[in-house]
Assembly symmetry: none
Homo-oligomer: 104 residues x 4
DNA sequence: TAAGCATTGTCACCCC
DNA sequence: GGGGTGACAATGCTTA
């Protein structure tokens, strides 16, 4: 790749500096941050793909992925206490004359 | 010339025509469709804004919007039968040794 | 027994108040909010249906709906980019050697 | 409905089996899928944390994280637009008098 | 009918 | 801490 704009040698500036500034921005440093982030996001995206594959494999084994996702989410919720909110929900439902859900 | 991809079928005309064709596309007709859609989407967006406002107003009256949203969604679900899926979910949870949710 | 159902004649209560409380929740007010929201969502859904119809009509006139949707989305993006404050952003982009958004 | 809801196809076994079925669900297999997914999601979450740290570090170096995020997103969009098939799309845009995407 | 896509709602993070 | 904003997941539609 060919030394795109913002490269070190476009230093028409008066003050000396380590990383060339472009319009007052440390280009090299900025570029480094951008690349680190993009690299990490790429890995994250790859993992998302892996997860998708697992769901596909589960589906291939006869499982219903929609339900499977729900199971995962329920397990996630159960790690935390969600009781407080639940009771509030029941209050609202009661106020509307709805039964507080025999089962979701 | 054979009915170029996506071009309106009637556009076999060569020179004179009501709505000028650009590259085989009936520009006027296309523009009309685009405008109708954009107009409708605008209205839809406005309604979304209205809904947001109602939630804000509810919040201003001391209601918990998150719970309120859940109430709405439950009422939506109750219109339909959701029993089949629920029982499947219970099966999965049972297979994992989890209790089928006293209440969600 | 405490007047659950939140029905209109739930005024069997001791303390005088405008909207009857159920479990500390102002049932009447809650119901009003729920209804307003559901009404608006209904209208929104109707509009979504209208939009769908326009796409269908366009398709009937030989247009490729998939491309048509893309056109709409591009126009939406371009409009969004038009109203952006880009001072600092432009600096960063310049530092990375990217053109500061070829304006439409 | 054939092939009862989400049950693995091979589960026509009656009594003896490797992985115990609970209510017609292959518990062991289900559990394995759930664990794989949860493991991957954990890794993904860790990466999200890493990304957050990089932003924090950038901020510590004087960069505006909000703008930085926008830069990342713009680069993402531009890359996406780079790999698009635009034949018909260009026709439609041209018909509307829009420039067919000034390439980056 | 299943897969891909587009939209919509949810959630978490950031700023005020 | 509360509101606003942006990313992510999930659902529904559309098409092949």
């Amino acid at each position: 790749m060919v030394d795109v704009a913002g490269a070190p040698h476009e230093s028409k500036r008066t003050t000396t500096q380590k990383s060339a500034d472009v319009g007052g921005i440390a280009a090299g440093q900025l570029r480094a941050f951008v690349e680190r982030i993009e690299r990490l996001e790429e890995e994250k995206k790859a993992l998302a793909g892996d997860i998708k594959e697992v769901y596909a494999e589960a589906k291939g084994n006869g499982f219903d992925t929609k339900i499977l996702r729900k199971v995962i989410s329920i397990r996630k919720m159960e790690e935390a206490e969600r009781q407080e909110q639940e009771s509030l929900l029941d209050l609202y439902l009661a106020a509307l004359g709805m039964v507080p859900q025999a089962a979701e």
